[in-house]
């Protein structure tokens, strides 16, 4: 399993559009991609749950990637967060 922490820089946090993009990005990999904020963890392919976390600007989230392509997927997710969030 690969994990990394990321501090959200988008002013609105993980709002509707980036959440949608995140779902798309996560679905591209075979690995399971999870996002943890505080005590809650959600699967990144679940849009509503992701939005329901209410991740705000400045929040630190942990992304964990688990599966066959986890090395590539973790890199890909990192790039995604930096570009979109």
């Amino acid at each position: 399993m690969k994990t990394f922490d990321y501090t959200i820089k988008d002013e609105l946090g993980i709002h509707a559009r980036p959440a949608g993009l995140l779902v798309k990005a996560a679905k591209a990999y075979a690995s399971e991609v999870n996002l943890t904020k505080g005590e809650k963890t959600v699967n990144c392919t679940k849009l509503m749950a992701l939005m329901g976390l209410g991740v705000k600007c400045g929040d630190v989230v942990t992304i964990s990637v688990n599966g066959d392509d986890e090395i590539v997927a973790a890199e890909g997710m990192k790039t995604f967060f930096e570009a979109n969030l």
């Binding site: 559009r17 949608g20 798309k24 392919t45 849009l47 509503m48 749950a49 329901g52 209410g54």
Partner: protein, 547 residues
């Protein structure tokens, strides 16, 4: 006549007839079903239909509001495909043996409640999105046609609230304005209205819809958020005028935005904007100014009860520089004194404040105040294209002292490990006759001059600019002033410096040609004047033939 006030989300004025946007109340019946599998199948079909409708709306939005804003409909499609949402619906159908309509409505309520309970106004507004997509599925289950009916006359569309999909589905050419009783400025509808350039006022309250009637005349003022129903003749005329002016302004904007500030014979000049606070940046960008020619930093001091800290100033300067990206931002150091007073400076009461301890004189008397500002400016310099300008200069020694302080600030920052840009232009204001007359001595010390014509006029003509009795002696076009500007321009250019004008004369289009002849490099005016000035410049022919 009746007036309501809500929140304007797109500044424009509409005058026309009201049409009430009524959606059929979706009555969802709660029914027991026998065949769960068939019911789930019904739901899947309806969902598919809803997704394909959303796809159409998405394509329409792509054209009308652009990709970024259209993405919300992609998100809507994804919401419909969301596992948790679908699982919840299927669960209600198969475990509780309920009909699909009820399952969808209940699930929508649950998710909407979750969003509405979040402590973030943006996320709260997403409750409307969940309801919107779910209502679409329910309509598909009932095989309802698209529920919009529209007349063939342009109308002001009034509704309790509009879902984003409804906003986009309306034929844009038939909508004069959107007016809603509810909704937030964070709602996608508000965002879409802004992008469709349709005046919109939201949050007028419940009473509003009960009292208006379809077909009555209304004025919608998207600037102030006012909605006036059945306006009186006089008010109607006033708004017609306001609407016409606004349209002319926008037309000018459209025509001149992105165009160069160049005369018919090819002479170019920079047109920048003057601003007095970071809040004005929106106007600067909207009016397509090439940069900020004068950022009055006084507001930081005037709005404070005590000296603003380095950090406080740093954040403001950083924000302005970042917002302007690579465009030049000329920030003027504090110009307190005379007509601008802050109590905590505890300045002595002066007989003649215009000739007293003001601007750079305060800075040189109280270097600690000056240094705090310079430190904040230098630290912020790495975030954009900064130029610093010093006001009220009268002598070479003042400029030498300033440059000495700048050097020591740089040294301090370096030892403390702060970064700063190496390309900060330093300039002075030419606003005293003394500075203009010795501009040959000043120009080699600086990168630019900026002529403050208000003070230059006051000091040259010995006319208090706030005294109405001297007004008739205060000829702003006085030859003495124009000569001082011309001398300054010649001396600037002879020493490789550029020269701009940031006072009121910069916006005086009767002088634009004169300034162009003098070789002025930049004119800085209030944001709303940028395009008018551009229009003037583009129609001037200096008759210079390019060789």
């Amino acid at each position: 006549m009746k007036k309501y006030t809500g929140k304007g989300v797109y500044g424009a004025i509409a005058i026309g007839k009201v049409s009430l946007f009524q959606r059929q109340d979706i009555q969802v019946k709660r029914l027991h079903i026998e065949n769960e599998e068939a019911e789930i199948e019904r739901f899947e079909e309806a969902k598919e239909m809803a997704v394909s409708q959303l796809k159409e709306i998405y394509e329409k939005a792509l054209v009308e509001v652009g990709e970024t804003n259209a993405q919300i409909f992609e998100v809507h499609m994804m919401m419909l495909e969301d596992d948790d949402y679908n699982d919840a619906i299927r669960e209600i159908i198969s475990n509780q043996n309920m009909n699909a309509e009820y399952a969808v409505a209940t699930t929508a309520d649950n998710f909407a409640t979750m969003f509405a309970a979040m402590d973030d106004s943006y996320m709260q507004a997403r409750a409307a999105d969940v309801k919107d997509i779910s209502n679409r599925v329910i309509a598909c289950l009932n095989k309802e046609e698209e529920r919009l009916t529209q007349s063939d006359e342009k109308m002001i569309v009034c509704a309790d609230d509009l879902a984003p999909s409804e906003t986009v589905s309306l034929d844009k050419d038939m909508v004069l304005a959107f007016v809603t009783a509810h909704g937030s400025s964070n709602s996608h509808t508000a965002i879409l209205a802004r992008n469709m350039n349709i005046p919109a006022v939201i949050g007028l309250g419940d009473g509003f819809l009960k009292e208006i009637e379809a077909g009555s005349w209304a004025i919608v003022d998207g600037f102030t958020g006012d909605v006036i129903i059945d306006p009186e003749e006089e008010i109607l005329k006033e708004y017609e005028k306001k609407q016409k002016e606004d349209m002319e302004k926008k037309e000018l904007l459209l025509k001149l935005k992105g165009k160069e500030n160049v005369t018919l014979d090819g002479t170019k000049i920079n047109v920048y904007a003057n601003i007095g606070s970071a809040d004005n940046i929106g106007a600067v960008l909207l009016n397509d100014a090439g940069g900020i020619g004068l950022f009055r930093s006084e507001f930081l001091y005037l709005e404070n009860m005590d000296y603003p800290t380095e950090e406080q100033q740093f954040l403001v300067y950083k924000k302005v520089l970042e917002s302007m990206a690579t465009k030049k931002v000329v920030i003027r150091t504090l110009d307190i004194g005379a007509d601008k007073q802050a109590d905590y400076f505890k300045l002595d009461k002066e007989e003649n404040p215009a000739l007293g301890l003001r601007a750079i004189r305060i800075c040189l008397t109280r270097p600690e105040v000056f240094k705090t500002q310079l430190r904040a400016l230098y630290r912020a310099s790495i975030y954009g294209n900064l130029a610093i300008m010093f006001p009220m200069i009268t002598s070479v020694s003042e400029v030498e002292q300033i440059l000495g302080i700048c050097e020591s600030v740089k040294k301090e920052l370096k030892t403390e490990g702060f970064d700063y840009s190496d390309n900060i232009e330093l300039g002075i204001m030419i606003e005293t006759p003394a500075a203009a007359i010795i501009s040959d001595k000043l120009a080699p010390l600086v990168d630019f001059f900026s002529v403050g014509t208000n003070d230059l006029t006051q000091y040259t003509l010995a006319c208090d600019r706030q005294n109405p009795n001297t007004e008739r002696f205060c000829d702003t076009h006085h030859e003495a002033i124009l000569r001082l500007i011309e001398i300054s321009a010649q001396n600037a250019h002879a020493n490789g410096a550029w020269i701009g004008i940031c006072g009121e004369l910069a916006a005086d289009t009767t002088l634009t040609e004169t300034f162009l002849h003098m070789g002025i490099d930049e004119l800085s005016v209030s944001p709303t004047f940028v395009l008018k000035l551009r229009d003037t410049i583009r129609n001037i022919d200096l008759g210079k033939v390019e060789i």
